[in-house]
């Protein structure tokens, strides 16, 4: 499948200088889906359509969104929908783009979501560093309120929905949904044990669904075009448009929208312009944000969707595609990420709190040329001891990459031990 000629759906307004305004959004057909949902559909029908569309969550886990919503209890009790706008997975920068360039798309999807799950006060959890996106989204909320689409009796339908933007304060872990809820309650962002799942016990102890920004941005499209039209985009069980974030050693880094299942090499070599420097070939790609296993260049003939990447031993994750040429030392790259996870571990579970620190110490030793052969197995052993033994997936999110880097590039790690230096040929960086 080639994606040439594809017309963007999520980013269709992004090129307009006035894309963040209500007028521009309306001109492109905006808020028709909200009107349709509120006036012609029951909340259950909205959930059914989202289920039928096959939409899977775009935050990283790929869980079916319609099913997540269907876990919410029926009835008129207090319930919450929370938008996870705490985008912080290294390599990922799509939600910020959506919020800055098309805040009304995000807002419309969120309002439809609130209607579908029966939420009358929705919260948008903004990454604390995202001052500009927050300003833009707040303005969009006020514009929508003035137009009768936020607050009491939305569009005259009797549906009430208040929206509050909440500012986080810098903690990667708050992207994990239960840590996010703790943070939203004004506490340290420490993940909760599951079960109970948020759909039973969430924000303030009430049933809650937490959805990613890009996921929510797909909702108006499903309601407007219908689930079967939507399900025809992409591949079976991997449906719909997807935002791919390409960074690292390519000529044109950026956010690219294509259906799920675009070939990774097409994304890199046709759309992102190919390798940054002609004399520096592709060495490896991290296909789904820093928390997923790495693909060495020889394994990059894969399709970019949930199931294809799982079959290749990695994950689509957040579709943060980090491209590395042969100037990159894999030991050093892994040390960079190990430091990230050690810094971001909330400290609640011993395997993660201590293990991430151990990774850093061992990798620093290897970097300095002071490591020994047993360190390689020690890294693998640590991964076995962390993975599956922590409350939240942060432990897995570092254990899996470590295992994959050491396994796929064992020669390079061994070279650091034997020759006390790096196998990669560093390139002067043009800064």
């Amino acid at each position: 499948m080639s994606a040439n000629g594809y017309q963007p759906l999520l980013l269709k307004n992004a090129h307009r200088p006035d894309s963040a305004t209500l007028a521009a959004y309306r001109e492109s057909g905006g808020y028709r889906a909200l009107e349709r949902a509120l006036k012609e559909m029951t909340p259950e029908q909205v959930v059914e359509e989202v289920k039928a569309s096959g939409l899977r969550g775009r935050g990283g886990a790929g869980f079916p969104t319609g099913m997540k919503w269907s876990f919410m209890p029926k009835g008129s009790g207090e319930k919450y929908l929370v938008l996870n706008a705490d985008e912080s997975e290294p390599g990922t920068f799509k939600d910020r783009l959506l919020m800055e360039e098309d805040p009304h798309l995000v807002l419309e999807g969120f309002l439809i979501g609130c209607y579908a799950v029966g939420c009358r006060h929705g919260f948008i959890y903004m990454r604390g560093e995202f001052v500009r996106p927050t300003r833009i989204l707040l303005k969009a909320v006020e514009e929508a309120r003035a137009a009768g689409m936020v607050g009491k009796n939305i569009l005259g339908t009797g549906f009430d929905c208040e929206i509050t933007l909440y500012r986080g304060a810098g903690a990667y872990i708050c992207g994990e949904e239960t840590a996010l809820l703790e943070s939203l309650e004004g506490k340290r962002g420490m993940p909760r044990l599951k079960p109970p799942f948020p759909a039973q016990v969430g924000l303030y102890g009430k049933p809650t669904s937490v959805n990613n920004v890009e996921t929510i941005a797909n909702i108006p499209l499903i309601v407007e075009m219908g689930p079967s039209w939507y399900a025809n985009l992409g591949r079976p069980k991997n449906t719909g448009p997807k935002l791919y974030c390409v960074s690292g050693h390519v000529r044109r880094p950026g956010v690219y929208e294509f259906p799920l299942g675009i070939p990774l090499k097409e994304l890199l070599f046709e759309h992102a312009g190919g390798m940054l420097r002609e004399d520096r070939p592709l060495k490896a790609v991290i296909p789904g944000g820093s928390s997923v296993p790495i693909l060495p260049a020889a394994q990059c003939d894969v399709l970019m969707d949930f199931d294809s990447l799982a079959a290749a031993g990695t994950m689509l994750g957040s579709a943060g595609v980090i491209v590395m040429d042969d100037s990159v030392c894999i030991v050093e790259a892994l040390l960079n990420l190990a430091r990230f996870y050690a810094h971001e571990s909330c400290g609640q579970c011993t395997p993660c709190r201590e293990g991430t620190g151990w990774y850093v110490q061992i990798l620093e030793r290897l970097e300095r040329g002071e490591g020994n052969s047993s360190d390689l197995d020690l890294l693998l052993d640590l991964s076995d001891r962390i993975q599956g033994n922590t409350i939240c997936p942060l432990g897995d999110a570092v254990a899996m990459p470590v295992r994959s880097y050491v396994t796929a590039f064992r020669d390079e790690f061994q070279h650091h031990v034997t020759h006390k230096k790096c196998l990669a040929k560093p390139a002067p960086v043009p800064v």
């Binding site: 290294p90 006060h121 990454r127 309650e185 960074s247």
Partner: protein
């Protein structure tokens, strides 16, 4: 320091916005910090009293989140992204250049109080690496030349 009347009014509004007042704690701390530049021990004590929380609860929250500072920053707080995409596109070279130019190391403030310099984890701007955040604003696709212009414009 007791927050100004204006900040206290914003704090009252933030508390009213949530079904449970405790949810406003982060907003309260952000408001205190935006007035004073950082959150001192006496500010934490004030926030604890205002929110009806034990001081240790507030201290726990302040120490958990990286955006809360307990020491005064420079007028221009330079936060250089250090995570992988920025590293492979040159953030270390950028940081060395900044350290050399400002005559301080990361974690320090210039003696005139004009600049402070820190490294931070991924700011979600990987497609425009290397980059940094200065106070609230992102500055992307940085080069030495662009840094020179930028720093000159910051008085």
């Amino acid at each position: 320091m007791i927050p100004s009347r204006e900040t206290q009014e914003k704090i009252d509004a933030a508390v009213r916005e949530y079904p449970h007042a405790r949810s406003a704690l982060l907003a309260v701390l952000h408001l205190i910090q935006s007035e004073r530049g950082y959150i001192a021990p006496e500010d934490q004590a004030w926030a604890a009293t205002r929110m009806g929380l034990p001081p240790a609860e507030v201290a726990g929250v302040v120490s958990f989140y990286t955006l809360f500072r307990t020491k005064p920053p420079g007028r221009h707080h330079l936060q250089v992204c250090r995570t992988l995409s920025c590293q492979i596109r040159g953030c270390r070279e950028l940081l060395s250049y900044l350290e050399e130019k400002l005559g301080i190391k990361q974690g320090q403030v210039t003696t005139d109080g004009r600049f402070s310099l820190v490294t931070v984890e991924c700011l979600g701007s990987c497609g425009t690496a290397p980059m940094m955040q200065v106070n609230d604003d992102y500055h992307e696709n940085l080069t030495r030349e662009r840094l020179d212009v930028l720093l000159d414009s910051m008085k």
